[in-house]
Symmetry: C2
Subunit: 117 residues, 2 copies
Amino acid sequence: MESIAQYKRDETWTPTEKKLARIAFDKAFERQCTAISQEAKRMLETTTVPSDIFRVQEYLTEQRRIVDRLYDYRYSRLLAVFGRLLSDGWVRESDLNGLQPEKITKIKHAASFYSQQ
Amino acid sequence: MESIAQYKRDETWTPTEKKLARIAFDKAFERQCTAISQEAKRMLETTTVPSDIFRVQEYLTEQRRIVDRLYDYRYSRLLAVFGRLLSDGWVRESDLNGLQPEKITKIKHAASFYSQQ
């Protein structure tokens, strides 16, 4: 496939696309945070020794690192970001309905790239 | 009161005292971790937005920093450590029964010092 670098190029985003992208982005963030919350709850419910709380802390710190790095809303990065979110299941194809077909193709391309990592 | 530095001096610990101190130390650690766990659970149950999970992460990271710094089991530090734990409520006076009265006095001294901080 083509280099990931191409996804860093500036794309033209119409106002409608920008609105849609923001919604898809926020929804993905919400889904991922909800999943992290659920896992933290599950871990807290199944602790066997009190110091297990720090395993929850390590898990959350690692997840924060991942989330902080991933959720970059610059339009120049957004196709690659959506590719990653699609690959990880936080964005669904239906969330992308309304983007230009060319953008969707690139996002799917990036997703398949990330899925092979 | 006397300087905290005095609590860093080497003390003589009998084998019985060492055993007792270890139990009191571990019990305090367990109580503190349990309290941190309960607070994390409470926070998780009362989140209003998904990103609140990272407030839990910040809370746990701060608590880990405190715990890592506090629980120092070197005998040269133990009287000051117990003083702090007594002041914070993680060690109870009854946990210290069996230590030489002189040590208990120093621990209480340190506790009152920390309580005034």
